[in-house]
C-alpha cells in the first residue's frame, strides 16, 4: 500500500483555492522532491497534509496508509507518523524544550495505548540523538526555538523528527536561511533517519538541498498542481532554466 496517496486534491485557505487538482503517490523508502516557484502552493500542500486549521479540502482525498487524513486532527496525524519540519519553526517562549519533547513522545505513546516513557530512558534517548545531530546540550534547556539561530531551529526540528520516529518526513524549505555548513549538518541528520520503511517529501525552491538529500522523484508544482515529474536530473534542469516556463503554463 502507498504510504501517502493524494488524489485530485483541491484545497483552499480563506476562500482562496490554492491547490487545484493535485495528485501524488509516495511509497515507503522513497524520497520525493517538490519544487516550484514562490507562491505555487508548496507550503499549502504541507499544511493540508499535516492538518493545519484553516486549510480546507474541498475535493479529492489524502490517504495515509489507507486512512483518510480528513478524519484526523493534526495531533492524530502526527501520532500516525507524519512529521513536518517547518519552513519557519515557531518560537514558544516559556515552554522548555525538554518538557516539550517529552510531552510529544508521551502523546504518541498514549495514542497507541502505551505507558509513558521512563525519565531515564527519555534522557538516554535524547542524549544519543543530540550527539548524532551535533546539537548543543544547552539548547534543550531553553524555551522552544527561542533565541535559536536559523540553523539551530532547523536542527532542532530534525532532532524532534529523530525522537518521534515518523514514517513520512516532510521537509519544507529546509535549506532556507541556512549557510552551507548548517545545511549539510541538517541534511546529514535527515539522511541518518532514512530507512526502507520511511519516506521523505522534500519541498524546496532551490536545487542545492537535493545534493544532500538525493531524491528518487522530482515534481514541479505550479499553479496548484503538479505539472511535471521526473528523476533527480529534473532538479538540475530547473536550476538551469528556472520556473518561467511553468509559471506561464499555470497562468
Amino acid at each position: 500500500m502507498a504510504l501517502l496517496a493524494i488524489k485530485d486534491l483541491r484545497a483552499r485557505v480563506e476562500e482562496k483555492e490554492i491547490l487545484k487538482g493535485l495528485s501524488l503517490t509516495i511509497n515507503p523508502g522513497e524520497v520525493h522532491a517538490i519544487m516550484g516557484p514562490n507562491g505555487a502552493g508548496k507550503s499549502t500542500l504541507s499544511s493540508v497534509i499535516t492538518g493545519k486549521p484553516g486549510y480546507e479540502i474541498t475535493e479529492g482525498s489524502v490517504l495515509f496508509e489507507g486512512k483518510d487524513l480528513a478524519e484526523l486532527a493534526a495531533n492524530e496525524r502526527a501520532c500516525e507518523g507524519i512529521f513536518l519540519a517547518f519552513q519557519y519553526p515557531v518560537e514558544i517562549p516559556g515552554v522548555n524544550y525538554t518538557t516539550f519533547l517529552k510531552t510529544a513522545i508521551n502523546a504518541k505513546r498514549k495514542y497507541f495505548g502505551e505507558e509513558e516513557i521512563d525519565a531515564m530512558e527519555f534522557l538516554k534517548l535524547m542524549k544519543s540523538k543530540i550527539k548524532l545531530l551535533k546539537i548543543a546540550d544547552d539548547m534543550m534547556k531553553r524555551p522552544v526555538n527561542v533565541g535559536f539561530s536559523g540553523g539551530e531551529k532547523k536542527r532542532a526540528d530534525v532532532l524532534q523528527m529523530a525522537m518521534l520516529d515518523p514514517k513520512l518526513m516532510i521537509l519544507d524549505e529546509m535549506d532556507s536561511g541556512l549557510d552551507i555548513d548548517a545545511l549539510r549538518i541538517a541534511a546529514d541528520g535527515v539522511n541518518t533517519l532514512r530507512s526502507p520503511d520511511k519516506a521523505i517529501l522534500c519541498i524546496t525552491h532551490y536545487q542545492r538541498l537535493l545534493d544532500y538529500v538525493v531524491p528518487d522523484f522530482v515534481h514541479v508544482l505550479a499553479g496548484g498542481r503538479i505539472v511535471k515529474s521526473g528523476g533527480k536530473e529534473l532538479a538540475l534542469e530547473l536550476e538551469e532554466k528556472g520556473y518561467t516556463e511553468f509559471e506561464n503554463a499555470a497562468a
Binding site: 493534526a74 495531533n75 512529521f83 515557531v90 514558544i92 516559556g94 516539550f100
Partner: protein, 440 residues
C-alpha cells in the same frame, strides 16, 4: 457625599462599641468616620469603575465569630503554597497559635499577632498603624481601621536578614454562616533588614466569606522586602485587600500576587517610593474562569528623584471570567530621573471573557523615563499548531501554552524557593482543571 447608608452585610459587621479611649479608639473612630462618609465603593467611584461589590449586598455577612478555629487536619493547606518556612495560621483574621509553626524565632525578628501587641505594647505600633491606610480614597481600608482587632505584626531589626521565608496562611471559614472579617497587618523592616514574606489566602467552601484586609509596610533605608501573595480561596470567597508600602532611600520592595481562586478578588497595591534610589516591583498574574472576577489595582508613587519601579501583570481568562487591571504611575514634580515601567498582558481563551485595562501615567517632572503597555490577545494559532503537529493533543497543548504565559511573570520572583513553590502551584492548578474549562 452624604452619610451613606451602610449596606446590610457590612452594617452587621460593625463592632460592638469598645470600651476604650486613647489613640486606638481615636484611630478606629477616624476610620469609621471615613467609611460612613464614603460608604461601600460603587462603580460610580473611578477606582471601582470595573469592580462592582453591589452583588455582595445580597448575602448577609455576619462578623466572623472571634473564636472560630479549624482543626489542623481540616485546614485547606493543599490550596496554600507548600513551602519550607516559618508558618503562621490566621483563621478569619485571628491568629491561631495552635496550628502555627514558628519554632524558635531568629534573633532580631518579632512575629506576633497584632492583638497581642496592642494589649501588651501598644506604643510599639502607635506611630505606624493607620499612617498609610487612613485615607478618604480608601473607604474599605478605613472600615478595616474602624474594626481593627487582629492581624500580623512583623518587625525585623536593623541589618538582620531572614534566611527563611515567613509564610502567613490566611484561612477564611464561614463556620455556620456567611462571615466578614478585616485582618490588619503591619510589617516593619528597619534599616538594611531583609526578609521574604509570603501570604497564602485560602478558605473552606462552607459559607461565603468576605475578607477586607489591610497591610501596611514600612521599609527603612536599604531594607529589602520580598512580598508574595497567593489568592486561592474557594468559589465562595470574596477578597478585597490593599497593601500599602512606604519605601525609604535605597530600599527595595518586591511584590507578586498570583490570583487563581475565589469568586471575587481585588488586589490593590500602593507603593510610595519616598527616598532616593528606592525601588518598587509590583507584579502579578491571574487566571479566571467561570464567573470569577480578579481586579489588580496598582499605584506607584514616585515622590522623590532617582527612584525606579516596574509593574508586570499577565493573566489568562476563560469562560465568563472577568479581569481588571488599573495601573498608575505617579511622578511628582521633584521626582526627576524617575525610571518607571508598566505592562499588562491578557490572554483571552473565550469570547465570554472580559478584560478591562486602565493604564495611567501622571507625570509632573520633566526628566523621566516611563513606559507602559497593555495587550489583550488570543491564543497564538501558530504555536498551538506547532505543538499539535508534534502529536500533542489540543487540550495538553493549550495547557502548556497557558502555563508558559502565566509562568513568565512567576519567573520574575527573585526568591528561588518561593518561585519554585509558585511554579508548582501553577502546575497543580493547571493539571487539576476540568477538561471543560479551557473551552473553545
Amino acid at each position: 457625599m452624604s452619610t451613606t447608608e451602610m449596606p446590610p452585610f457590612l452594617d452587621a459587621a460593625l463592632p460592638v462599641p469598645v470600651e476604650e479611649t486613647g489613640w486606638l479608639a481615636d484611630l478606629r473612630q477616624a476610620g469609621l468616620d471615613i467609611y460612613k462618609r464614603k460608604g461601600l465603593p460603587t462603580p460610580k467611584v473611578e477606582a471601582w469603575k470595573y469592580t462592582n461589590l453591589g452583588g455582595l449586598a445580597k448575602t448577609e455577612f455576619k462578623p466572623a465569630a472571634l473564636d472560630v478555629t479549624v482543626a489542623a487536619d481540616k485546614l485547606p493547606l493543599a490550596a496554600a503554597l507548600s513551602l519550607d518556612a516559618l508558618a503562621l495560621v490566621f483563621v478569619n483574621g485571628r491568629f491561631d497559635p495552635a496550628v502555627s509553626d514558628l519554632g524558635a524565632l531568629p534573633k532580631g525578628l518579632r512575629v506576633e499577632s497584632l492583638s497581642k501587641v496592642l494589649q501588651a505594647e501598644p506604643a510599639l505600633v502607635e506611630p505606624l498603624l493607620g499612617k498609610l491606610a487612613t485615607r478618604e480614597d480608601l473607604p474599605l481600608a478605613a472600615l478595616n481601621t474602624g474594626l481593627l482587632t487582629d492581624g500580623l505584626f512583623v518587625r525585623l531589626a536593623k541589618g538582620v536578614t531572614l534566611d527563611k521565608a515567613l509564610h502567613v496562611v490566611s484561612v477564611a471559614s464561614g463556620g455556620s454562616s456567611a462571615a466578614a472579617f478585616h485582618p490588619r497587618n503591619l510589617i516593619v523592616l528597619e534599616e538594611g533588614a531583609k526578609a521574604t514574606i509570603v501570604e497564602s489566602h485560602v478558605g473552606l467552601p462552607d459559607f461565603p466569606t468576605f475578607e477586607n484586609s489591610v497591610t501596611e509596610v514600612t521599609l527603612g533605608e536599604g531594607a529589602e522586602l520580598k512580598h508574595y501573595r497567593l489568592l486561592n480561596g474557594p468559589d465562595t470567597s470574596y477578597h478585597v485587600g490593599v497593601t500599602l508600602a512606604d519605601v525609604a532611600a535605597k530600599a527595595r520592595y518586591e511584590s507578586f500576587a498570583l490570583a487563581i481562586g475565589g469568586a471575587l478578588t481585588r488586589n490593590e497595591v500602593r507603593v510610595v517610593l519616598s527616598g532616593e534610589g528606592a525601588h518598587g516591583v509590583v507584579n502579578g498574574s491571574y487566571a479566571v474562569h467561570g464567573g470569577q472576577h480578579v481586579d489588580n489595582t496598582v499605584l506607584v508613587d514616585h515622590a522623590v528623584p532617582r527612584a525606579t519601579s516596574s509593574q508586570l501583570f499577565k493573566g489568562v481568562l476563560d469562560g465568563t471570567g472577568k479581569a481588571v487591571f488599573q495601573g498608575k504611575v505617579l511622578v511628582r514634580r521633584d521626582a526627576q530621573e524617575t525610571d518607571a515601567q508598566q505592562l499588562h498582558k491578557a490572554l483571552l481563551l473565550s469570547r465570554g471573557a472580559e478584560v478591562d485595562t486602565k493604564p495611567e501615567l501622571e507625570i509632573y517632572a520633566d526628566d523621566v523615563k516611563c513606559s507602559h503597555g497593555a495587550t489583550v490577545g488570543e491564543m497564538d494559532a501558530e504555536q498551538l499548531f506547532y505543538l499539535m503537529a508534534r502529536g500533542i493533543d489540543e487540550e495538553t497543548a493549550l495547557a502548556l501554552l497557558v502555563e508558559a504565559f502565566v509562568e513568565d511573570v512567576v519567573h520574575e520572583i527573585s526568591d528561588e524557593v518561593v518561585r519554585e513553590a509558585f511554579i508548582r502551584k501553577v502546575r497543580d492548578w493547571q493539571t487539576g482543571r476540568e477538561k471543560a474549562v479551557w473551552s473553545e
